[in-house]
């Protein structure tokens, strides 16, 4: 039994070394020192019933809204996103959309004209996105929708990269809501002209 235990320890040691080496040389490897899920230092007030000056009691924010507040982010609703995309300013890139899903998902369909930012692997697209985001008046970040938090982490990433936080909005409904409304979806690269 001792020999089996010794062997198990050898396997653990060798496996650990192999795993670290493979991760280091793999193009898909993770950066061990990076915090992929940054939390903000901005703290929202506790979720309690709020009473306005005229005596109206407002309900506490929903969990997503509370989480956004805690991260110092603000959300934008579907109608506003749709209005921006249909606004002439969208073509002039005074308003930009950022798709925070991975590159494969992006190629399979995104909101027309949206930039791609997989914040886990930002190097691929950041050079194209960052100048546009710094120049834009509004930066709207989205991911799949539902429980997806990638849009929030991408928003924090952009804020940390120098984009002013008050210009960033998170579209929490995401692609799921956009597609559900029957709106156009662009395939492949940005401005490929190919629609679903």
């Amino acid at each position: 039994m001792w020999r089996t235990l010794t062997e198990a320890m050898l396997v653990v040691g060798a496996g650990f070394c192999v795993a670290l080496f493979a991760n280091a040389v793999s193009p898909r490897g993770l950066d061990l020192r990076r915090n992929y899920f940054p939390e903000t230092t901005v703290r929202a007030p506790a979720a309690v019933l709020e009473e306005t000056a005229d005596g109206v009691v407002t309900p506490p924010p929903n969990p997503v809204e509370a989480r956004l507040r805690q991260r110092g982010l603000e959300q934008i609703q579907f109608d506003d996103v749709r209005a921006w995309v249909e606004d002439p300013h969208y073509e002039m890139e005074r308003v930009i959309l950022v798709d925070a899903r991975n590159r494969r998902q992006y190629r399979e369909g995104h909101i027309p004209g949206a930039f791609s930012l997989d914040h886990y692997r930002p190097d691929e697209t950041l050079a194209e996105l960052l100048p546009a985001a710094l120049a834009a008046e509004w930066v709207i970040v989205y991911c799949s929708g539902g429980d997806c938090e990638d849009s929030e982490f991408a928003a924090i990433f952009l804020r940390d990269a120098g984009v002013p936080g008050d210009r960033i909005r998170v579209y929490t409904g995401g692609l799921e809501e956009w597609r559900g409304a029957g709106l156009p979806i662009e395939l492949g690269q940005r401005k490929s002209g190919i629609q679903e």
Binding site: T6, E7, F16
Partner: protein
């Protein structure tokens, strides 16, 4: 089918067990290979799924697990598929499966509390590399994998396995080198000084190996390793190896070589003797390399191999009258070497028995087994270590053999 120590099982049953273990090994190995690779190609997705379990707030730890675990699973899966270090690898995977299963179970309970769904109706991506799964099916799969893992830890893997157990210290290399008759290379794992010696006693059943060994047993510097008796005693102990041995003994199977080596190795560790006489080991060709590995590991140098020879007719005659003490292992002969008190052991006063494998039919099988399995061992020593090997006839008596053993013992520097 009984042989020398009652440790043999039909070859057909051994074949079936070997194939079943091969299937288990490939199934568990293949599963980990597949699920590990699925995570290797999408480490970010695995990282996100892992975060949901809320295991740690420390990014470095989370990243290490997400980056390392998939490759580790692939590594272990490969080891199992190839049959390298099977027992240790299976033990590691078993140690991983238990907390994995507990975490998945706990997560399912959380989802159930939030959703009011029936437990088995819950489906989620558990980060197992197989996408979204039904919780009950996943738990069943993990239970099956754990059961197979236990079989792999305790099983003897011989079918299409490169090396079922990684070499212990210098065992593999040095064992093979010395067994081949070449001197082992010096290395940091090899003891730099050999302080103790070993003598191997080989011979057919009833050739008097034990009697010959006893000729030098009175001295404190000499110890006899009686393999058969040692295995029977170890099989009675309430230890892991004892229980495993008991399973083989009760099933009538030949004890696995690594287990025999373990038992002998443990025995050697507790001895202060400078000269060890191996009685009944090695018995098979595949025990030769482990023997030399063990000698190397324990700092023992092979001093001599004494081969006793005896005709078949004499073997049958001797075994018919042989009696054994079930307690201390002492052997007697009703005519040639009777006990002082009839049918009672001289050493422990236990009633003597005739062993089942001393019956005529069993004797014929034992002789057949000796010719097929042990004679190749004798030929190995005679060809590869001829300068250490000496053959002595015990047809008339064991006196010559006892004298030869005493001379060997004196030669290697021990008083007799």
């Amino acid at each position: 089918m009984m042989t020398t120590d009652g440790l043999r099982l039909g070859k057909a049953a051994q074949e079936r067990a070997a194939w079943a273990l091969l299937g288990a090994r490939w199934l568990v190995g293949g599963t980990f290979l597949y699920s590990g690779w699925a995570k290797v190609v999408e480490p970010v997705e695995f990282l996100k799924l892992l975060r949901v379990y809320d295991l740690t707030a420390e990014p470095l730890v989370l990243n290490l697990v997400a980056a390392g675990l998939p490759w580790f699973e692939v590594f272990c899966g490969l080891l199992l598929v190839l049959g390298v270090g099977v027992r240790g690898t299976a033990l590691v995977l078993l140690c991983l499966l238990i907390p994995f299963t507990a975490l998945i179970w706990n997560r399912a309970l959380q989802i159930q509390a939030d959703s009011s769904l029936a437990f088995c109706a819950i489906r989620f991506d558990c980060g197992c590399g197989t996408g979204e799964v039904a919780i009950c099916r996943k738990l069943l799969e993990n239970g099956l994998l754990m059961g197979l893992g236990v079989c792999l830890v305790i099983g003897r893997h011989s079918r299409w396995a490169l090396s079922h157990q990684l070499p212990s210290r210098a065992q593999g290399r040095a064992g093979r080198e010395i067994a081949s008759g070449r001197p082992a290379r010096l290395g940091i794992l090899r003891p730099m000084t050999v302080k103790r010696s070993a003598v191997i006693l080989l011979g057919p059943p009833a050739s008097g190996k034990t009697t010959v060994a006893n000729a030098v047993d009175a001295n404190h510097g000499v110890a006899i390793i009686r393999t058969g008796h040692l295995l029977r005693s170890a099989g009675k102990a309430d230890t892991d190896s004892g229980r495993e041995l008991r399973r083989h003994l009760e099933a009538g199977r030949l004890a696995p070589t690594e287990l025999v080596v373990d038992v002998i190795g443990d025995q050697i560790d507790g001895l202060k003797a400078d000269l060890l006489i191996f009685d009944g080991f090695p018995r098979l060709e595949d025990q030769i390399a482990p023997l030399f590995g063990m000698l190397e590991e324990k700092g023992l140098q092979l001093a001599a191999v004494l081969v006793l020879t005896l005709s078949d007719q004499e073997i049958h005659q001797r075994l018919a009258g042989r009696r054994a003490c079930p307690r201390c292992g002492a052997t007697y002969h009703v005519e040639a070497q009777p006990p002082r008190q009839q049918d009672r052991c001289d050493h422990c006063d236990t009633a003597l028995i005739q062993r089942a494998d001393d019956a005529p039919k069993a004797v014929a099988e034992r002789l057949d087994s000796y010719r097929q399995e042990t004679l190749p061992v004798v030929h190995f020593f005679q060809s590869r270590h001829s300068h250490l090997t000496r053959e002595v006839s015990v047809e008339a008596s064991t006196d010559d053999a006892c004298g030869a053993l005493r001379a060997i013992v004196q030669q290697v520097g021990h008083a007799v």
